[in-house]
C-alpha cells in the first residue's frame, strides 16, 4: 500500500525529508460511550485498528458512526472508556494532560475542518505558533511556505486568505513540528471540490514522500480515494475495509462504501 502512494509523488525529493516511525498506530478494543438524553450511546464499540507507519488511511462513515470520536481518541483529545490507543508503543491513557499536550505537539499534526487559524496572527505566525524552540525553525517554515505555495501569503491574516490557503496554512502548522502522524478531521469539509482535491493531493504527497502516517476522517469518496486504505465505521464498529485505486476510482469508492453500508445492513437485517 505504501508503494502505491509513492507513485503520486510530485514534490521534489530535495524538499522532502523522511519521517521515520518505528511502530504502528494501534487501537485495541476501544470503547467510548456518551450519555445522550438519559440513554447511553456507544460512539466506539470494541474498535480494533492498526495503521502502519507511512500509511494513508481514510475513515468513512455516516454522521454519528464514531469516525470523529475515533480520530479524537487517536489525538489524545478524549479519553476512551476502555481499550488502548498506542502510538509508537505509548499508551495514551497513561499520559497526563501536560504529557498529552506535549505528545500532540511533537508527534501529531492536527488539521481541522474549520481551519482554526488564529485570526490575530499572520499565516507565518500561525505556522510558527506550535513550534517553540524547534531546531532550524526558520528554514523549516520557509520550506513549508514554499512547498505549500504560501510564500505570497505569509504576511496575510486568515481573513485575507481563501479557504484553500487557510487550510494549507493549517496543514503547514500541523507539519512544522515534523510529526510522524497527521490527523485530519474532514479537512475538505469547508472547501469547494477543486480546492478540496488540492488539499487531498497535498496530504497524499506528504504520505508518499515523507512517509508520514495520515489519517483523515471524511464522508466524501473523492477524498477517501486518495488513501491507501479506507475504513468504514457504523454505530461505533468497523464495518469494512478496502483499498482504493488512487485518483481514479471515486465512483468505485462510493460504490464500495455504499455496498459496505448496505451489506452490513442486509446482514444485520438477516
Amino acid at each position: 500500500m505504501i508503494s502505491s502512494a509513492q507513485q503520486n509523488a510530485s514534490l521534489s525529493s530535495e524538499a522532502a525529508s523522511l519521517i521515520h516511525t518505528t511502530a504502528p498506530l494501534v487501537i485495541e478494543s476501544a470503547v467510548k460511550q456518551y450519555s445522550q438524553g438519559g440513554r447511553t450511546v456507544a460512539a466506539l464499540d470494541q474498535i480494533h485498528l492498526r495503521i502502519e507507519p507511512g500509511e494513508f488511511v481514510a475513515i468513512m462513515g455516516a454522521s454519528g458512526s464514531g469516525k470523529s470520536t475515533l480520530l479524537h481518541a487517536m489525538a489524545g483529545l478524549i479519553a476512551i472508556d476502555s481499550g488502548r490507543v498506542l502510538i509508537d508503543g505509548q499508551d495514551l491513557s497513561h499520559l497526563s494532560d501536560a504529557q498529552l499536550t506535549r505528545f500532540r505537539r511533537e508527534r501529531v499534526g492536527l488539521v481541522f475542518q474549520a481551519f482554526n487559524l488564529l485570526p490575530t496572527l499572520t499565516a507565518e505566525a500561525n505556522i510558527r505558533l506550535p513550534a517553540g524552540r524547534v531546531k532550524d525553525l526558520d528554514s523549516k517554515v520557509e520550506n513549508l511556505l514554499e512547498r505549500l505555495n504560501l510564500m505570497s501569503r505569509r504576511s496575510h491574516k486568515p481573513d485575507a486568505m481563501s479557504g484553500g490557503e487557510q487550510q494549507r496554512t493549517a496543514i503547514a502548522r500541523a507539519l512544522v513540528c515534523e510529526p510522524a502522524i497527521v490527523l485530519a478531521d474532514e479537512p475538505t469539509g469547508s472547501l469547494d471540490s477543486v480546492t478540496g482535491q488540492e488539499i487531498c493531493q497535498l496530504l497524499r504527497e506528504l504520505c508518499s514522500e515523507q512517509q508520514r502516517t495520515i489519517v483523515i476522517v471524511t464522508h466524501e469518496p473523492q477524498v477517501a480515494m486518495w488513501a491507501d486504505r479506507v475504513v468504514v465505521l457504523k454505530d461505533g464498529k468497523t464495518l469494512a475495509e478496502f483499498s482504493p485505486q488512487h485518483q481514479q476510482d471515486a465512483q468505485e469508492i462510493a460504490a464500495l462504501y455504499q455496498q459496505a453500508l448496505l451489506g452490513r445492513k442486509d446482514s444485520g437485517d438477516a
Partner: protein, 936 residues
C-alpha cells in the same frame, strides 16, 4: 513563553477600541490613586525635610524611650555625658505648653460690681480663630540655658542668662501676632505667668500637617515656638525646671556613630531609660503620627476602591475576550498549549492592561499634580509628590487589579477542552442555570451583617473590627451573588416598561441582559462599587448626623456673658428684653467635672478615654422642667410633670440623658460623684431623679462652649442652680438659656439689648457679639444656627467623602461602555437582520440606550441595597468603635441626595451609551451582517 507573549499581545491588538477603553478606565483608576496618595507622599517628604532640620545645631538629642507619656530625662544622664571628653555641650531642654498674649491686651481684674470670686471664663473657640491681638492657646515653650541659638536668629539676640525676663519668638508666630524685638508679651495663664520682653526672632523649621495645623510637639529643639531660660520658665510655672530632652553638641572630629554606639547601652540603663534621637528617628515618629496615619488610611481606602473598580473593568474585558475566543483556546490546547500556558496567556493580557494603566496613570497623575493641589497636600510645602507610596499604590491598583481580574477568565479558559476545537462554533456554557440557586445563599450572606451588628453586638476592641470585617465582606459577596437574579428581575420587570416609555418593540429588549448574565452582572457590579459607597456615605452620614442635631427639647437660644458671667439676680432683666419669653428664660452655670468613678469604662476602652467627665448645667429645675410653661419642652402629661416636680425637689437631684443610664448601668435613684476642678479634694454627689431623651446635646454643648475643659463628655447633666454654683465655685451665671416669645423675635436685637444690660452691670463697655481681650461681650447662639452649622459641616464632609466613590462610578461607566460595544459587536448579524427586515434606525438606537439604562438600574438597585445596609450597619458599629455618647441612631435615608446622585449616574450611563447606539444606528444592515459573519 515567546508564543504566549505573542498571542497575548495579538489578542490585545485585536480590538483596539476595547483596549483603549479598558486602558482609559485603568489609567483613570491609577490617576485617582496617584492624585490622592501624592498628598501622603508630600506629607512624608515634609517630614523628611523637617526631621533633617529639627535638631537645629545639635547632631543628636537624647529623650526618654517611652513616648506615650514620657517622664523627664534623669539629671544624671546630663552630668555623666558632660564628663565625656568628646562632648562639647549638653543642653537641657524643657518643653512646656502655655499661653501667649501681647502685654497690651493682658486681662484685667473682674469688675468690682461682680460677686467675689468671679473669674474669667473660657470663651467659645470652636467657631472663631484668634486675631492678632487674641490669646494664642497652647504655645510650645522651650526652656534652655544653651549659650548659642539652636537655629539662625532672624533679628535680635539669643537669650542671656543675665536677663531672665526675655523671650525669643519663632518667626511665624511673631508674624502672626505682629510682634517685634523689644515688645512685651504676657506668657502664662491667669494663675501664673509673667510679662517678658521679646529679645529676638528666630527662624525655626515649621512642620505643617495636611490641614495646616501644628502637630503634637516632638522632643526636639524644632518644636519650640518660644524660647526662654530655665530660670524664666521656673518663674512662669512656679515649679523647678525639668529635662524633657537633651541637645548634644560634639567636639570636632568626633565620630558620631562611634559615640552613639558607645553610649547607647548605657543610656538604656538609667532610672528612666533614654535613647539618642537622630533625624531618622524624628522622621519615623512623624510618619507614625495620627495625622500621617489618617492620610495613609485615606490613601489605602482610595487604592482599595480604585483596585476593585479597575479589576472589575479588566475582568469584564478579559471575560469578554475569553468568551469570544473560547474555541481559539480549544485549538491552542489541541495543537500545543498546556493549561498553565493558557492561564499564563490570560494573565499576560491582564498584565499588559495593568502596565498600560500604571504607566498612563502615573503620567496623567503627574500632569494633574502640576495643575492642581491635592486636598491632602493642601497647606504642605510640597503640593503633591510622586513618591514611593504613590508609585507602589498605583502599581498595586493596576497590577493587583489585573491579577485579580485574570483569575476567573484564566480559570474559564483552562476549563476549555481540546476536543472543543473540533466543533464548528463557539460554545459557551450557559451561566443562567446559576442565577436563581445563588439567590438564597446571597441573601443569607447579606443578612449576616445586620445580624452581627444588631443581634449579636460585639464587645469593644478587636472584636468590633473582626465583626465588621466578616459582616461587610459577607455582605459584599452576598450582593455579588444576588446580582444575576437582580439582572434577570430588572430585565423581566423593567424591560417591558422601558420599551413602552421609549416606544421600542419589546422584542428588541427581550432577555438581552439575561442572555449575557455574567457579563451584565460584572458591568453592573463595577459601577455599583462607587455608587454603593456613595449611598453608604450618605446614609451613614445622615444617620449619624441626625442623632447629633439638637432636638426640639433645646430652647431657642443661649446668651453667653463673657468673660465674667452675669450675676443671677440680674438675669431677671434679660426676661424683660423684647423678643425673650419672660417665663421661659433661665440663667445657668456650667462646668465640666470629671466623674469620680470610671462609670463609662473609659480606662478600659481606649476609644472613650476622654469621656470620663460630664457637662453639668445648674438651672432652676422646677422652672425649666416641671412648671406649667417649662423652658425645656417634653411631651409630659401634667401628672408626669407633677411627679417630676416632686423628684426634683431634693437638694442634689439631677436629670441625665437616657443613654447615660444605658452606658453606665445606673438607674433612676442612683447617685454618682463628680470632682470639682477647682476643689478636687472634695467630690460632690448627685442623685439621678430622671432620664431625658436629649438628641443632639453633643453639638449643643460643643458649639456653645459648655465643654470648656476637654473635647468630649459622657453626658449633659441638669441640676439645681444653687447646688452647682456652690459645688463648682461659680458665683455668676455664664449663660442665660431662653426661648423667644414669638417666631419673629430678632436674635441680633436681643444680643444688642443684652450687651447694654451687661455693660450696665459691669460698669464698662460691653460689645454685642464675641468678647475681646479688652472688652466683655454678650453673644447670642440660636439653636437653629447650631443645627444649621452642624448640618452644613456634615453635608460638606459627606460630599467630600462622596467624591472618590462618584469618580470611581464614572470610571466604571467606561467598563460598561466597553461591555456594550462587545455585546453589540457580537450581535452585529442579528442587528443587521433586524434592520434589513424593516426595524428603524431610531428603534435600534433607543433599544441600545435602553439596554444601558437597564444595566445602570441594576447598578442602582445593588447600590441602594448595599449602601443603605452598609450605612445602617456602619452607624450601628460606630456605637462600639467610639462611645458617641452611647447613641443608637435611627436609620435616616437621605432620599433626595441619593436620588440626585443616581439620576446623575444614570445620565452619565445614558451619555456613555450614545456612542455604541449611534454607531450601530449609522451602520448599514448589509455591513452589520457582514461583520456578524466574520467571527471565529
Amino acid at each position: 513563553m515567546r508564543e504566549v507573549l505573542q498571542l497575548a499581545l495579538a489578542s490585545l491588538r485585536e480590538h483596539p477600541r476595547r483596549l483603549l477603553l479598558t486602558s482609559l478606565a485603568t489609567i483613570a483608576a491609577a490617576t485617582l490613586v496617584v492624585w490622592v496618595v501624592s498628598g501622603y507622599d508630600a506629607l512624608l517628604k515634609s517630614h523628611d525635610e523637617y526631621a533633617e532640620l529639627s535638631l537645629g545645631t545639635y547632631p543628636l538629642a537624647i529623650a526618654p524611650i517611652d513616648t506615650s507619656d514620657p517622664p523627664s530625662v534623669p539629671v544624671l544622664v546630663a552630668t555623666e555625658l558632660e564628663q565625656d571628653p568628646a562632648v562639647a555641650a549638653v543642653d537641657r531642654m524643657w518643653l512646656l505648653r502655655t499661653k501667649l498674649t501681647p502685654a497690651a491686651v493682658q486681662q484685667k481684674q473682674a469688675p468690682s460690681s461682680l460677686p467675689a470670686g468671679t473669674k474669667k471664663r473660657p470663651q467659645i473657640r470652636s467657631r472663631y480663630g484668634g486675631g492678632p491681638a487674641a490669646t494664642i492657646p497652647d504655645i510650645v515653650l522651650l526652656a534652655t540655658d544653651s549659650a548659642n541659638a539652636p537655629f539662625p536668629m532672624k533679628s535680635g539676640e539669643w537669650l542671656s542668662r543675665k536677663e531672665p525676663l526675655q523671650v525669643i519668638i519663632r518667626e511665624d508666630l511673631a508674624v502672626r501676632m505682629d510682634l517685634a524685638v523689644g515688645q512685651q508679651v504676657y506668657v502664662g495663664d491667669d494663675s501664673t505667668g509673667a510679662t517678658l520682653t521679646v529679645a529676638g526672632i528666630i527662624t525655626v523649621p515649621v512642620i505643617r500637617t495636611a490641614g495646616g495645623e501644628s502637630m503634637t510637639p516632638l522632643r526636639t529643639p524644632g518644636s519650640g515656638q518660644m524660647f526662654v531660660t530655665s530660670q524664666t520658665a521656673e518663674q512662669l510655672t512656679g515649679s523647678p525646671a525639668e529635662i524633657s530632652f537633651l541637645g548634644i553638641s560634639l567636639k570636632e572630629a568626633t565620630d558620631i556613630d562611634g559615640f552613639r554606639f558607645g553610649w547607647a547601652p548605657r543610656l538604656s540603663q538609667f532610672s528612666t531609660p533614654v535613647q539618642f534621637q537622630r533625624a531618622i528617628d524624628i522622621e519615623e515618629a512623624l510618619d507614625e503620627s495620627a495625622t500621617a496615619e489618617n492620610v495613609k488610611i485615606q490613601a489605602f481606602a482610595t487604592t482599595g476602591i480604585s483596585l476593585i473598580v479597575a479589576s472589575l473593568v479588566i475582568l469584564c474585558t478579559l471575560s469578554m475576550g475569553v468568551s469570544e475566543r473560547i474555541r481559539q483556546y480549544a485549538v491552542l490546547r489541541a495543537v500545543f498549549m498546556t493549561r498553565s500556558q493558557i492561564a499564563l496567556l490570560i494573565g499576560l493580557e491582564g498584565f499588559f492592561l495593568g502596565a498600560i494603566g500604571f504607566a498612563g496613570g502615573v503620567l496623567l497623575g503627574q500632569l494633574l499634580l502640576w495643575l492642581t493641589v491635592t486636598p491632602a497636600a493642601e497647606g504642605l510645602r510640597y503640593q503633591g509628590v510622586l513618591g514611593v507610596n504613590c508609585l507602589a499604590l498605583a502599581a498595586c491598583t493596576t497590577f493587583g487589579a489585573a491579577l485579580l481580574a485574570s483569575l476567573i477568565p484564566a480559570w474559564r479558559a483552562t476549563r476549555v477542552r481540546p476536543v472543543d476545537a473540533m466543533s464548528l462554533s463557539n460554545q459557551t456554557r450557559n451561566a443562567r442555570q446559576w442565577t436563581w440557586p445563588l439567590l438564597p445563599l446571597g441573601i443569607i450572606l447579606i443578612a449576616l451583617n445586620p445580624i452581627l451588628t444588631f443581634l449579636f453586638p460585639p464587645g469593644f476592641g478587636t472584636q468590633v473590627f473582626v465583626s465588621m470585617a466578616i459582616g461587610f465582606v459577607a455582605m459584599a459577596i452576598g450582593f455579588t451573588l444576588i446580582t444575576p437574579a437582580l439582572v434577570s428581575l430588572v430585565d423581566q420587570q423593567l424591560g417591558p416598561l422601558l420599551s413602552r416609555l421609549l416606544h421600542i418593540d419589546p422584542k428588541l429588549l427581550d432577555s438581552q441582559l439575561s442572555s449575557r448574565t455574567w457579563r451584565t452582572s460584572g458591568a453592573a457590579i463595577s459601577m455599583a462599587v462607587g455608587m454603593s459607597l456613595f449611598v453608604a456615605v450618605h446614609v451613614w452620614g445622615m444617620t449619624m448626623l441626625d442623632a447629633f442635631i439638637p432636638g426640639n427639647w433645646a430652647p431657642d437660644a443661649l446668651l453667653a456673658f463673657h468673660p465674667y458671667g452675669l450675676p443671677p439676680e440680674q438675669a431677671d432683666q434679660v426676661r424683660q428684653i423684647d423678643g425673650v419669653d419672660p417665663i421661659r428664660c433661665e440663667p445657668i452655670v456650667v462646668e465640666q467635672p470629671r466623674l469620680l468613678n470610671d462609670l463609662t469604662g473609659s480606662a478600659e476602652r481606649a476609644s472613650v478615654t476622654r469621656q470620663d467627665n460630664v457637662v453639668i448645667v445648674g438651672i432652676d429645675l422646677q422652672s425649666a422642667f416641671a412648671s406649667e410653661s417649662p423652658l425645656f419642652e417634653f411631651n409630659w402629661s401634667s401628672a408626669e410633670r407633677q411627679q417630676m416636680a416632686g423628684k426634683l425637689n431634693s437638694d442634689r437631684a439631677c436629670l441625665v440623658p437616657d443613654h447615660f443610664l444605658e452606658e453606665t448601668g445606673l438607674q433612676i435613684g442612683d447617685s454618682f460623684q463628680l470632682v470639682p476642678p477647682e476643689n478636687p479634694g472634695t467630690p460632690v454627689e448627685y442623685a439621678i431623679a430622671g432620664a431625658l431623651h436629649l438628641p443632639g446635646w453633643h453639638w449643643q454643648t460643643k458649639q456653645t462652649g459648655f465643654r470648656s475643659r476637654t473635647h468630649r463628655a459622657a453626658a449633659i447633666v441638669f441640676a439645681d442652680y444653687d447646688a452647682v454654683a456652690e459645688d463648682f465655685s461659680l458665683p455668676t451665671a455664664s449663660y442665660v438659656w431662653l426661648s423667644y416669645n414669638s417666631p419673629s423675635a430678632d436674635p441680633p436685637q436681643i444680643e444688642k439689648e443684652a450687651s447694654r444690660l451687661y455693660s450696665s452691670v459691669l460698669n464698662q463697655p460691653a460689645s454685642a457679639g464675641r468678647a475681646t481681650e479688652d472688652k466683655p461681650g454678650v453673644q447670642i447662639m440660636p439653636v437653629e444656627g447650631i443645627r444649621q452649622q452642624t448640618r452644613d459641616a456634615a453635608a460638606g464632609w459627606i460630599w467630600m467623602l462622596s467624591q472618590i466613590p462618584l469618580i470611581s462610578a464614572a470610571i466604571a461607566c467606561i467598563g460598561m461602555l466597553n461591555m456594550m460595544l462587545v455585546s453589540i459587536r457580537s450581535r452585529s448579524w442579528e442587528l443587521g437582520v433586524i434592520r434589513a427586515i424593516g426595524i428603524t434606525r431610531g428603534s435600534i438606537v433607543r433599544a441600545i440606550l435602553a439596554e444601558g439604562i437597564l444595566i445602570g438600574i441594576v447598578a442602582c438597585v445593588i447600590s441602594l441595597g448595599f449602601g443603605i445596609l452598609a450605612g445602617w450597619c456602619g452607624a450601628g458599629f460606630a456605637k462600639y468603635t467610639s462611645f458617641f455618647g452611647g447613641l443608637s441612631p435611627t436609620l435616616i435615608i437621605p432620599w433626595a441626595e441619593i436620588l440626585l446622585g443616581m439620576a446623575l449616574f444614570l445620565t452619565v450611563v445614558t451619555v456613555a451609551m450614545l456612542w455604541p447606539a449611534l454607531k450601530i444606528g449609522r451602520t448599514s444592515p448589509h455591513l452589520l451582517m457582514q461583520q456578524g459573519r466574520a467571527s471565529f
